[in-house]
Every structure is written in C-alpha cells, then in structure tokens.
Amino acid sequence: MSEHPIHDLDDDVHQRVRLGILASLHGVAKADFTHLKTTLGVTDGNLGRHLQALEAAGLISQNKTASKGRPRTWVKITSKGRHALRAEVRALQQLLGALDEPVPQDPHQQDQKAARA
C-alpha cells in the first residue's frame, strides 16, 4: 500500500466548498446558511447539497429555527468534523511539502551517464 499523502485526503471533506464550510465553522459556535453562502460565494442549491453531504458524513449538524416568522438554518461543526478538517489540512500540507523535497535521480540514467563518461 502506497504511503502517498493523497491517501490521507478525505473524500467527504476534500471538495473546495466543503473545506471552506468546515474552515468557516471551525472556531465559531454556529453560523447560518446565508452567512456561509455569502462568505463562500456559492448558490443556495450548491451550498445545500454540500451541507447535506457533510451532515450525512457526520461532520456538521444543521438546526432549523424561525425568527420573526422567517426560517433560518444554523450550521454547527461536530467534533468529528473538527478532526477531519485538521487531518485534511495536514494531508494537503504534506502533499505540498513533498514538492519541495529533491527529486531522486533515476539509477538507470546515472549508469548511462557513468558509461558515457
């Protein structure tokens, strides 16, 4: 089994909007649907679908309330969601860190260079 950092990426979290949702919720008690929509610059339908996917994975919880006769959806990150976000960020950092490491030389090419010399 390969130990490449891509195997640490979580398919439920990995999508850009989902990562943005979790990062926006991390550190606050809760945020409402409209706030997330404005912050992330997505449509109602798009955000709704991603929230459903995150809720199904147990990474967030949604709570519908009514204030002044207007329905409002509050979104909270769960402890599983916090862990998943940290793990995802760590995996992405490892992935980028691997780019800075020197690329190992192909031993076949080294042999050819030595023969030519």
Binding site: G20, G27, V28, K30, D32, T39, W74, V89, L95, L96
Partner: protein, 184 residues
Amino acid sequence: MDPLSAELALAEAAAARRQVRSASRAAMAVPLRLLAAAWIVLAPTVLVVGRNHLAPFVGLSLLAVTAVAWRRYERIAGTTGIRARLSPWIAVAFAALAGGAAASRGGTQYGLPWLNEGGPFVVNALALACLSWLLRSRALAAGTAVMAAISLAVTATMNGDPAVATQLAAYAAVLLATSEMMSR
C-alpha cells in the same frame, strides 16, 4: 490531485480561518469590556467591604458578565449570522476566579501580603494571556504584560485595600483600551 489545487484549497481554508479568528477577537471584546466595567465598580467596593471579602462580589460580577455577554452574542448572531464561542471566556473566568481566590487565601495563610494583594491580579493577567494566545491577539498579549507590570509596581509601593483598589482601576483602564483595539 494537482499541487495547484492543493495550494488553492489550503489558501482558502487559511483565509476562512483568519476571518473566523478576527470575528472571534471582535466578539471577545464584548465580555472583556464588561469585565473592565465590573472592575471599575469593584474598585471602590473593595475600600468598603475589604479585600478579603471581595470574592463573592467578583464571582457575581463574572456571572453577570457571562450572562450579559451570552445575550449580546445571541443578538449579534441574529444580525450577522455568526455566533462566536463563549467557552474560552467561561474557561478564563473560572480560572481567574478559582486561581485568584487561592492566591489571595494563600497570601493570608502564609503571611505574604504581596501574594494576598497582587496574586489574584497576576492570576487574572495569566488567564487573559492564555486567552490572547487562543485568539492570537497581540493587543491582549501586550495588555496582559502591562497588567503584570502594574501589579509588580503597585505591590512594591502600596499595601492593603488601596493597593487592590488601584490595581482594579488600572487593570480596568488597560482592559478597556485592549478590548477597544480588539474590536477594530
């Protein structure tokens, strides 16, 4: 996954995190401002009731600050759509109350007036320093350093209830200035 997408995703997550931290700092200015107001009220109170009977007043004021801050947070959430966490404040308030009472009692028990008069304030400054680290607030960190310096200067030059009243007033002034900077 290509490196550019990874970098973009990380940058977006970091930007969202920074935005949340900034909102948390601004929100925390609410209980800190209320705490400063409570300290202003407690400064003359200590001259009336005495420093060794101040703990119940401090406890009540922290309870009142927490209740008012919770209401303000709910109201702000209603308009902004984002509800900040009050748990860091509750942890700080509890640590400051318990640690402050222990320092004050320890000072009386072991005959160390500086610990009795300055200890609770240094404990408060330490608790606020922990909060500043949690919020990554340089303004609050600098404020707590000034508070600790005030306690050192006051306990070296004054004693008794006036020393406690002076520290309360000075801490309140520093906290008001700090919370003002945090709310910007």
